[in-house]
């Protein structure tokens, strides 16, 4: 992804897509079935995650390593705040380790 502007241009549109989908998530957050409700709740957190990833990868696509690192810090902090809600579903430790490797061009 580093220096790949074509990939970056597509990823830059992700936040818009997440926002467009948000009302559908909202209308499903009070479903009676707990499994369905939880699936939509996960998507709500996941939307913010995708927006954060979009920032990181867009910066990388422009060879902007500093901003990629800053975006990773912001996303890590968001995920840290909600980690106890999503801990069964998402491994923050491996994510941070792996994303730092990606930014480092490994």
């Amino acid at each position: 992804v580093i220096g790949n502007t074509a990939v970056g241009d597509i990823i830059a549109k992700v936040p818009e897509a997440v926002d467009r989908f948000a009302p559908i998530i909202e209308r499903n957050l009070a479903l009676e079935d707990k499994c369905h409700r939880e699936s939509w709740s996960i998507l709500k957190y996941h939307g913010e995650y995708c927006k954060g990833l979009s920032e990181i990868y867009y910066a990388l696509s422009r060879n902007d390593i500093d901003n990629a690192n800053l975006a990773l810090e912001r996303l890590t902090d968001y995920l840290s705040l909600c980690e106890l809600d999503i801990s069964l579903y998402f491994d923050l430790f491996l994510f941070v380790q792996r994303t730092k490797q990606l930014i480092a061009g490994l």
Binding site: V1, N4, V7, I10, I11, K13, V14, A17, F21, I24, R27, N28, L31, D33, K34, C35, H36, E38, S39, W40, I42, L43, Y45, H46, Y49, C50, L53, Y57, T76, D77, S80, L81, E83, L84, I86, S87, L88, Y89, F90, D91, L92, F93, L94, F95, V96, Q97, R98, T99, K100, Q101, L102, A104, G105, L106
Partner: protein, 555 residues
């Protein structure tokens, strides 16, 4: 219950796993149809209106295709109107049969925990289901990885048989390395980094072993990290400091004239295997360990997770590491026979032991299972490396691995061992992060499992985090259910999974997740030096490249 539908679940054996299977059946039937009034009995006497749970042999069902009950999972189910049987080739297959029957009633476990179970409501008295299937692959499961707490592991282990996975591996004697990352919240900027007492990790480990056995799953243990334990050097986490007595160092491999911890870690340190007392001490320790835990099904006895550090002493150089390794495997096999222990030993074709032994031979191949870590995430084929196996030279390991080379090495081992073998795959280590929507990732897994037969492997040990359900459990569900039945249709599976996970608006969810996956190019976002591209000394290499856990230790 007044006016309820009375039914009996009769078990033909009183064991923890079969009792658990009966309780699960009772619990879920009541959730689906609360008018069903179920009782569980242990009896050989037939009654009317019962579902019987038992082994195929106990139910006098055909089992000509059952070769090894420890490995082969066969479900045989016939139920009409709450009357019939659920048979299995082993106790876990009875439990999996219960879940399979419940799935026919519309149940689905889309991810671990109660919040992941979709249980429809309705009258089930007229439901019929007939099913018989032997699993296409006997090894289907996960190895502990990432940062995981007890509750994460507990929920995942309970979930595995619901998606037809049949094994779990707890790596290391106590999986401190993995669990500690969670309890210290190493990557979290907000939570405390305080540790919990080591004794708590030991208690958790025992509880998890018990849970794996309760579910009837194959319990795999150990792997890397135990080689130096018999000498009092315990691996806990990367970057730990060790004061090793000079006497102990005599057991370490002599490399460049020194006997010391390789990379400052027992995890990376090989032994001087030509010394009889060293071999004895390792075998004594392992056999004592199994005396304490005779319930372990598969003991993984591996050498160090590193490369270019085998012993260069004048005795060790008389044989290859693979020859010394096979000698130790034979010693362990003989000792376990003396103890009457039938635990299977998993040996690994890894780094120097990729090369087959020259002289030594396994005395009783039936004791053993082979594994290797060559998962690439780039699909499977039967292609071999052009030019065959490269020349082996002590401590000059520089080959570029890959599936093609691994298959060439396996060909080389075949005169020594041609028994069951499974592959370590790393899809859920880091690859899943490259596709945040999981849709391309899930399809890749299905595609690869459908071509696994080309390799001759008998299944997959998924070495990856147990926390990979963000946004869905689709890829991991497919790993289990497609290894059980490779004929499943990918697109149909995806649609049904998403319907059960999201309910009425599942089509919108599917379109959204497809769009997310399409936006994040999985190839462009994969690591260049992904662990999956390495088949040798993976942990050592990773820690050298990135600092691994060490970057967190300064906190």
């Amino acid at each position: 219950m007044i006016g309820g539908k009375a039914m009996i679940i009769r078990i033909l054996r009183e064991s923890e796993t079969v009792r658990y299977a009966a309780e699960e059946l009772k619990r879920y039937l009541a959730l689906i149809d609360e008018s069903v009034d179920t009782s569980i009995i242990y009896s050989a006497e037939e009654t009317e209106g019962e579902i019987v749970l038992g082994l195929l042999s106990e139910l006098s069902l055909p089992h000509n295709d059952l070769n090894d009950p420890k490995l082969d999972d066969i479900m045989d189910i016939s139920i009409h109107g709450l009357s019939g049987y659920i048979g299995g080739s082993n106790e876990r297959s009875i439990l999996m049969g219960v879940y399979r029957y419940l799935k026919s009633l519309g149940c689905r476990w889309v991810r671990p925990s109660n919040a992941g179970e979709y249980i429809p409501k309705g009258d089930i008295s007229g439901h019929s289901f007939v099913f018989r299937k032997k699993a296409d692959y006997p090894f289907r499961g996960q190895c502990i990885e990432g940062a995981v707490g007890y509750e994460h592991l507990r929920e995942v282990i309970l979930w595995l048989p619901k998606v037809e996975m049949n094994l779990f591996m707890i790596e290391q004697i106590v999986p401190y390395n993995y669990m500690n990352r969670w309890y210290r919240h190493l990557a979290n900027t907000r939570l405390s980094h305080d540790d919990i007492p080591y004794s708590d990790y030991c208690d958790y480990c025992l509880k998890l072993e018990h849970l794996i056995k309760k579910c009837g799953l194959q319990l795999h243990v150990m792997g890397h990290g135990a080689l130096n334990e018999p000498f009092g050097v315990r691996h806990m986490i990367s970057g730990q400091h060790y004061d090793v007595p000079e006497e102990t160092k005599k057991a370490f491999a002599l490399v460049k004239g020194k006997r010391e911890l390789h990379g400052s870690s027992p995890f990376f340190t090989n032994l001087c295997m030509s010394q009889e007392w060293v071999r004895e001490k390792v075998v004594n320790w392992l056999s004592d360990y199994l005396k304490e835990k005779p319930y372990i099904d598969f003991l993984h006895f591996w050498l160090a997770d590193s490369y270019n550090n085998h012993c260069e002493c004048e005795e060790c150089i008389k044989k290859t590491p693979s020859d010394w390794y096979v000698d130790m495997l034979n010693m362990l096999d003989a000792r376990l026979k003396e103890q009457g222990n039938d635990t299977r030993i998993v040996f690994i074709m890894y780094v120097d032991t990729l090369w087959p032994p020259i002289e030594s031979r396994l005395n009783d191949p039936k004791r053993f299972i082979m594994t290797t870590a060559c998962g690439s995430g780039k699909g499977y084929s039967d292609k071999r490396r052009e030019g065959g196996i490269p020349q082996w030279k002590r401590n000059d390991f520089s080959i570029k691995g890959g599936l093609d080379l691994a298959l060439s090495f396996i060909d080389g081992w075949k005169p020594v061992f041609d028994g069951p073998r499974f592959i370590y795959e790393y899809w859920f280590y880091t690859s899943h992060y490259a596709d945040p929507g999981y849709m391309s990732f899930a399809r890749n897994i299905a595609r690869d499992i459908k071509s696994l037969h080309l390799t001759g492997f008998d299944g997959i040990m998924s070495d990856g985090s147990q926390r990979t359900f963000f946004p869905t459990g689709l890829p991991l569900s497919m790993l289990g259910e497609f290894l059980f039945d490779t004929s499943l249709d990918t697109e149909s599976y995806i649609t049904h999974y998403l319907r059960d996970a999201f309910g009425a608006d599942y089509k919108e969810a599917k379109a959204y997740l497809e769009a997310v996956s399409a936006s994040f190019d999985i190839d462009a976002l994969s690591l260049n030096t992904d662990i999956t591209a390495q088949d040798t000394g993976a942990t050592d290499k990773l820690s050298k490249k990135s600092g691994s856990d060490r970057k967190y230790r300064s906190r």
